[in-house]
Symmetry: C2
Subunit: 340 residues, 2 copies
C-alpha cells in the first residue's frame, strides 16, 4: 500500500510502465527521454554561475549551478553578475535569508551598513528602473505584430478579419504549450525560457517560476546591482514579474537552497551570523575545472511541444482526468547533464 | 544595499511603511491585519490533525498542524484519516519521501510488503474512484445553475440572453477574487478553501496549492485509504486535481516538512531507514492538550475580497507594475492563531 503517488512526475525516471503496458500513453518524462540528441542545446560554461556553499553538517558538498538569462533580458544586471563572479566578490559572504514558500537570498550580510559593507568591484554599472523596463520590452515578437486578442466581450460582432485569423493562428501556436495565463495576455517559451507576453503592448518578459534567480533591491526606484540575488523556492510569485530583474535559473542543486532552515526574523532573514550558510565561492562556469556539460531541451523542438502537451494533458496510466491545461511554471524546461 | 526584496510579501509583518508614508496603498498583509474580529472564523479542534515529528538535530520540537477539508469534499478519506488518528495508527511510522519542488509524503515504510505492513485499524472504509468523482461533484453552485460560459469562438452572435447576463454577473462575482485559471473554467474561494470549477459540468473541486494535503495511492482504480498522506512543498501541481483526493492543508509548521533533506531514490523516496524522519504521533486536535486556537479569514468577507484584489494588483510602494491578476494558489487564505 505504499502509494507510488506520482510515478508520472519523475521527469527522468525509467519508463517502467511502458514495459508492462505497451499501449500506455507516454509520460512527460518518457517523451523527454526519447528526444533525439539534435534537440538538446548546449549551455555555454560562460553562461553558468557555480555557487559552492560551505559543506553541510555531514561534510557533504553543496554546489548550486545557475544558468544566466540571455539578452535581451536584464542585460544591465547579468553584466554586473559576471563582473562580480570574475572578481570573486561573493566568496566568504553568505545566504542571508530563507522564507518558506518564497525565496532564499544571498549576498553581503553587512550590505545595509555603509561603514561595514563590502565594496563592490570596479566595473559595476548603475542600474535604473528605466534599464529594467527597456530590457523587458525588447523581445522580438513575430514581425507582423498581431492585434490584441479579439473577443466578443466588448459586444463586437465576431467575423474575424484576415489579419485576425492570422493572429489567432499564431497565438494558438505560441500558446499551445503554455495555455492560459493569469498574469498576462498569454505565456510562451522562447529559446529555452518561460516568458509572459502582453500582445497589445508588444512586450514580453521572463517569469518567476520555481528556481528562477532574481536581483534583490530596495524600494523603487532602486533597481538593485546584482550583488544580492535570490531564488524562488515555492509557488511561483508571479506578482514580482516586471517588478524585479530576473537574471537566471538554478539548473542543478536547488535542494541545497530549498532545504535550508527558514530564518525567524521578518521576511525570513536569519537572526544571527551563526544561522547563515557561508558561500565558499561563486564562479563563472568557464573558471570551474571539471564542470559537467549541461544542455536544455530546445523549446522550439517537436519533442518539447509533445512534452508540454503531455504536461497539460496527462494521459499516462496514473491519471484519471487530464487537466486540459497547465500554467507555464508547471511546465519546467528539461535540463540535463550531457550524456556520455 | 541589503535589499528588502519582498517587504510586501510578509503577510503578517508590521505595517512599517504605512507609518512613514500615510498615502501608501496598503499591502495585502496590512489589509488582513486590519480585518475586524468578526471576519475571522474559528477552526474546530476536531478538524485539526496534529503531527509531531521526532525532535530535530538540535532537539527542537517539530509540530505540523493540518486542517481537514470539510464536506462535501473527500469525505470517504477524511473519515478514514480521523479513524487512523484516533487509533494512533501513525505513531512510530515515518516520513518516507521528500521530492524537491513537489511533495513530502508519510506513512508506513513497509506498506508495500504485505508480510510486514502495519495492519489498518478497524473501521477503515474501502474507497473507490467512484467515491472520489462523486465527492468532487457535490459542491452546490448557485441554485439557478448557470449555463456554460458563452463565447463567440463558436461563431455565434453575442447578444446574451437574460439568463446569460445573470450568469455572467455571478461568474464575475465568483471569479473576481481568483481570476483566470489555466486548469478549469474558473477558480474561486468558498468557505475558506481554494476551489476550481467547471461551470459547464456543474462541478467544483479543491486544488493542489502549496501546503495542501492529499491521499497517496497506487495506479487507478486504487483510490488510497488515507493511511499514506503527502503535502505539496513546491509549485502547485494542479495536474493532480481531480486525480487524487485532497483531505486538508497545513496551517502551521510546514517548514518542518519543506526543509527535510530530499530523498535520493526515484521520486524522492529515502534510500535507508536512517534517512527517514520518525513520526512521534499524529492526533486529532481535540486530543492535544494546550493546543492553540486557530482561525481563518472568511473568504466571504469584505476584507478577503480586498486582500485578494491587492494580491492581484500590488499597489504598495515596492511595486512598479501591478500584475492585474493572480492564480488562485498565489492568494493563500490567511490563517492565524486566535489573538489574546
Amino acid at each position: 500500500m505504499k502509494a507510488k503517488l506520482l510515478l508520472a512526475a519523475a521527469l527522468f525516471a525509467a519508463p517502467a510502465l511502458a514495459q508492462t503496458d505497451k499501449l500506455a500513453a507516454p509520460s512527460p518524462g518518457e517523451i523527454v527521454a526519447a528526444a533525439p540528441a539534435s534537440e538538446w542545446v548546449a549551455i555555454s560554461p560562460d553562461d553558468l554561475l557555480v555557487m559552492d556553499l560551505a559543506p553541510g553538517a555531514w561534510e557533504q558538498p553543496r554546489r548550486v549551478v545557475i544558468q544566466l538569462i540571455p539578452a535581451p533580458f536584464s542585460t544591465a544586471w547579468t553584466a554586473n553578475v559576471r563582473t562580480l563572479a570574475k572578481a570573486h566578490w561573493w566568496d566568504g559572504l553568505a545566504i542571508v535569508r530563507a522564507q518558506d514558500n518564497y525565496v532564499v537570498q544571498w549576498g553581503d550580510p553587512d550590505g545595509e551598513d555603509t561603514a561595514k559593507a563590502k565594496p563592490l568591484p570596479a566595473g559595476i554599472s548603475a542600474t535604473s528602473e528605466a534599464d529594467y523596463v527597456t530590457s523587458l520590452a525588447r523581445l522580438p515578437l513575430p514581425s507582423d505584430a498581431p492585434p490584441p486578442i479579439r473577443t466578443c466581450s466588448q459586444g463586437r460582432d465576431c467575423n474575424p478579419t484576415e489579419a485576425e485569423v492570422r493572429y489567432n493562428a499564431r497565438a494558438k501556436m505560441l500558446t499551445d504549450a503554455a495555455g492560459v495565463d493569469a498574469y498576462a495576455t498569454f505565456s510562451l517559451f522562447r529559446n529555452g525560457w518561460p516568458l509572459a507576453a502582453d500582445v497589445g503592448g508588444g512586450k514580453a518578459w521572463p517569469v518567476h517560476c520555481y528556481g528562477m534567480v532574481g536581483v534583490g533591491r530596495g524600494m523603487s526606484p532602486d533597481a538593485g546591482s546584482g550583488a544580492e540575488l535570490y531564488t524562488v523556492i515555492g509557488h511561483a510569485p508571479r506578482h514580482l514579474d516586471r517588478n524585479i530583474a530576473l537574471v537566471g535559473r538554478v539548473i542543478e542543486g536547488i535542494e541545497h537552497l530549498s532545504t535550508l532552515p527558514r530564518g525567524t526574523e521578518a521576511l525570513g532573514f536569519y537572526k544571527t551570523p551563526q544561522e547563515r550558510t557561508p558561500i565558499t565561492s561563486i564562479r563563472l562556469g568557464s573558471e570551474v575545472k571539471g564542470l559537467a556539460a549541461y544542455q536544455y531541451l530546445s523549446t522550439e523542438s517537436e519533442t518539447f511541444a509533445r512534452y508540454a502537451d503531455a504536461r497539460a494533458n496527462r494521459r499516462d496510466p496514473f491519471f484519471i482526468v487530464p487537466a486540459g491545461g497547465a500554467d507555464i511554471c508547471n511546465i519546467p524546461v528539461p535540463v540535463r547533464r550531457a550524456p556520455g
